[in-house]
Subunit: 331 residues, 2 copies
Amino acid sequence: MSEDKVSELATPALVVDADALERNIALMAAALPGDRLRPHVKAHKCTSLARRQAAAGHHRFTCATIRECEGMVAAGLGEDLMLANEVLDASRIGVLLEAGARVTLAVDSAETVDAAARGGVREVIIDVNVGLPRCGCQPADAGRLAELARGRGLSVRGVMGYEGHVMIVEDPAERARQCRESMEQLVAAAADVGGELISAGGTGTYDCNTWATEIQAGSYALMDAQYNRQGHAFAQAVFVLATVISTAAEWSVANAGLKAFGMDHGNPEIGGSTVWFCSDEHTTFSPPRPVGDRVWLVPAHVDPTMAYHERLYLYSGDEVVDCWPIDLRGW
Amino acid sequence: MSEDKVSELATPALVVDADALERNIALMAAALPGDRLRPHVKAHKCTSLARRQAAAGHHRFTCATIRECEGMVAAGLGEDLMLANEVLDASRIGVLLEAGARVTLAVDSAETVDAAARGGVREVIIDVNVGLPRCGCQPADAGRLAELARGRGLSVRGVMGYEGHVMIVEDPAERARQCRESMEQLVAAAADVGGELISAGGTGTYDCNTWATEIQAGSYALMDAQYNRQGHAFAQAVFVLATVISTAAEWSVANAGLKAFGMDHGNPEIGGSTVWFCSDEHTTFSPPRPVGDRVWLVPAHVDPTMAYHERLYLYSGDEVVDCWPIDLRGW
């Protein structure tokens, strides 16, 4: 197998349409230029891809893990990172700051403020719960928490609040209405907290969230079957390329399965086919195709799909134009 | 964070109870000694764990990918590997054979027989469909396919057929009945094919599949929530250890999520708690617990869970006794 041609790549292979990726990045950069977008690297876990986002004008990034922060700093992309997640041991962030990076850490409790201060963190953002039952303090507690942080010598850059429960609403009008509800709470908390940042949003609300000063979208660059159903202008750019290894009267089997796809949003999709189920290394689908046929599978959920793969192949037509390591995996 | 104590491990961490693992391995080795078991490494993807299975008397292993074969050979465990999966480019197996390993390749079509012959494979096994809509030829075609393989100079070691649709049947009597149905087809195909191997089964049928000459079980060593519901004697040995990073009036959030768990069988389980949902790096559950509490999560499906992690920590009590790389990931 050669790595020069898509048609000759060993499968399963994670492949990204270079033109679609560039169009998605350009489209988002036009809608949310520069610091209006803080791209979330958890969606792709790839510093080479983050570098394309930086080339489009975005120099502030969002991370979900300390490992993502470390990798971004190592790649020279640590100008203004936000770890939009709570940690109880921030010492590895302190190390990054000592080396000259800028990392702002989310806090939502006295314990996480304490962890930030003990770990050598200098800047925090108050994480506010805006309706998703996950992290974030109650909106009414945000001001008190900011005071607590300032009392520990931490600089408070503002508030963040992820309206994740809104991302999956398929009707745009209803999505916008629920987004407003969430952001009204966040804006009220921002008034209590102070600071310059109101950080929120994602690919599902990038076009209706007009309250946040910056949007933490990530999925838009590569997309997935879930977000495709929302009718955004972004094109599907990432696929798992597989090969039909077995075929029967009523079905065929492609050689990519549960270890190649995040499955929480359901099965991957194959255009024109019905996916029956996935096993560890297989996807059974119909109608059947000849053994040897290439199959292009669209992940249902891009983030946990990327986390399974060591590398992606960037392609244009049948040419493999680059190979990028998925270098932000793990913790 | 120290790596000497479980209570001080950075989270999320994949942890394995050393005593439970050894008991599971011993229990299976008593039920299916030596070559009666051909442990499937896809369930753990860890050559250090495979070495424990070899120490219990099993020297033949099952693999699902060429990468798993390569890793097992590199670890000195390539005495008798079966790649229980179809491939269309077998050249990397040919390389392993040149280096002195023994790998038997599954074939289920003229195309896969041809790929085996072209790739330098010497021994094949006829993969027979016994009811799961996945790979495998029709039982009536097995003899013809064996002749085709022999005509290409390949040695045919027998038949394999995975009754995967039976594994998930929770009632033991019904599971045994469906297993018999599948295996009667496989035994009939074996008579047409010849050879010494009838390879089948898994953790769900290890105790009722009396037709196969060898059982390809893998999950028994570490177990998962799905198999626990079948009431086997194997103990849960693998957990994802997480930490409560945020807590609210009605829920808490642990710092392990979609990138730490194979999700196709549903959410991970937490003893005494209700899991609400998982996000990329979070599991929301109730009732709430204090920030900083450790949470032990049982994966719903062990195989795709292992594939997300770089390493596992083997523990006994609060002592971390070893750290094993999950070295068979990727393709």
